[in-house]
Point group: C2
Chain length 314, copies 2
């Protein structure tokens, strides 16, 4: 495939592995980059020193491009960005914050910058800030999510029409046919999160990975909309939040119940009862833990088969 | 296109116009059927006698197949079904209720029966009841909606994998590329609602149609989840409901605020302040009121163009 996102990022297949907290370390990112996709380190769950270590290990493990995902609301963002620049990371995906502050700085230092949004408004703002491409993430995606609840199916055509730079679709994309659907809607590439959590290379806890295999339709829901909307599994921790809602809890009570370190507890430490388990709706489609390389191979094969089927029925 | 839904329903294009309350009368349904799609009358907002009139007028206006959409929770369902059978309507789409009660009866009388669901569980139940096809409707769809909030992108592959009968995708499909996306995901056909509301043939009030043209991303939200979840525009009536939520309203207070006839008031009488305006997320993509025939033509043209683009980049 010849395509603007592949050209921009120097990758073979237009498949980007999302830089997810507690999942996307150097093992996953390098495995994806070695398989022709773009691997991303998830800096959101790393101290600056830990990120440096992951960057160095990732570089040793692959000679292909890889990147870092940075939530711009990260507390010690200056230190994180310094690590990224000192270590010469070629690609930075920014999210959860204003791209105005960092885009120019990163680009001056030779980085490709891609910003993640969930609305047309913020896609246009990011384009104005000079980012090289946009990730548009739909309501079905796991983890933090937009307030407008726009799904991938409706978001992608809207953003495609509004921007001039390359567009990467995210949310609900767990197979080649879904990748084809995203590209039919106007995306140039896809960002895949949940599917890569269920790989041996993801640093997520095995308990969490096994829970993903059990997930059926309706296993996740977007909640905590008064704080930051987040899609998570309906585990006992989620039920606790639901009970608070039913009892008319205040924002402060919700904050207190959430506390700190819930995501780590669930996804990294494997506490399925008390932890927060962030995953997308697509978890209901995931039936096997397979290596990143096999995931990409399966994407490409099923993409091609689906395209062939479509062409034949026409 | 040769396709199982076209074969089943005797139509040229795999495009079904949703049988929407206060929008889908004989003018819209016959225009769609005359253009090669399947037109559906929306019985949910019709008394049995009114439905009879619409069936008779529709039959005069088209020699092609058309159908009726019946919400199974309709109060005088027996009378409604009698009208449908006496008038020999060839196709019945059932929704909002248990298909067990009516499917066999309708099929014995020679009807094709299609049931609308929003989950794998109910798709399987409907298949067991003997329906001929399934409509799977995603979270982005307008009007009443499922509790699991599964989007079209993730719902279609799940249901496709679970059932053996033909599958029609609904929710977020307002253009040819979205139709192509749905078919890439495994659908055999699409059901299109919102796009057809913005047509001169829809019986919806002009005020409502014009409001759809103004809709931007985020213009709708799923609400009243404690009663029946419904996606509507964020107009003053919606805001009133939101305020009740913020004040911790009980289910009874919500019911009282909703009252009766809200949908009619908004969509048929054009009261944009006090009425309920049910429409899908795809409303943000709709920019023109055009005839049903032009909508179908545009779908087919943009579907073919999108497929050609996909084939070329591969």
């Amino acid at each position: 495939m010849k395509n603007p996102v592949c050209d921009l990022l120097g990758i073979k297949y237009p498949i980007i592995q999302a830089g997810m907290v507690w999942a996307s370390g150097w093992r996953l990112a390098s495995a994806v980059s070695n398989s022709g996709g773009l691997g991303l380190l998830g800096a959101g769950s790393m101290y600056p020193g830990v990120l440096r270590e992951h960057i160095q290990k990732c570089r040793k493990a692959t000679s292909n491009p890889f990147g870092v995902n940075v939530p711009l609301l990260y507390k010690d963002i200056d230190q994180l960005m310094e690590v990224i620049l000192v270590e010469n990371v070629p690609i930075v995906f920014t999210a959860a914050g204003n791209p105005k502050i960092w885009t120019e700085h990163l680009k001056k230092n030779g980085c490709q910058v891609v910003h993640v949004v969930s609305s047309v408004k913020f896609a246009l703002k990011a384009q104005d800030c000079g980012v090289d491409a946009i990730v548009a993430e739909g309501f079905e995606a796991g983890g933090h999510n937009g307030r407008e609840e726009t799904t991938t199916m409706t978001l992608i055509p809207l953003i495609k029409k509004s921007i001039k730079i390359p567009l990467i679709a995210a949310g609900g994309i767990g197979s080649g046919p879904a990748m084809l659907a995203a590209m039919a809607l106007g995306a140039d590439a896809v960002q895949v999160g949940s599917r890569f959590v269920a790989s041996p290379e993801a640093s997520s806890h095995d308990n969490f990975k096994k829970e993903i295999l059990k997930a059926q339709q309706g296993a996740t829901l977007l909640t905590l909309k008064e704080l930051t909307p987040v899609r998570m599994m309906k585990n006992p921790f989620f039920q606790k939040i639901q009970t608070l809602y039913e009892n008319g809890a205040s924002i402060n009570e919700l904050k207190e119940a959430l506390g700190r370190g819930r995501a780590k507890k669930g996804m990294f430490e494997g506490d399925l009862i008390e932890g927060e388990l962030e995953i997308g709706q697509v978890s209901a489609q995931i039936e096997q833990i397979i290596p990143a390389k096999s995931i990409i191979k399966e994407f490409i094969e099923t993409y091609n088969r689906a395209l062939k089927n479509l062409s034949e029925i026409n």
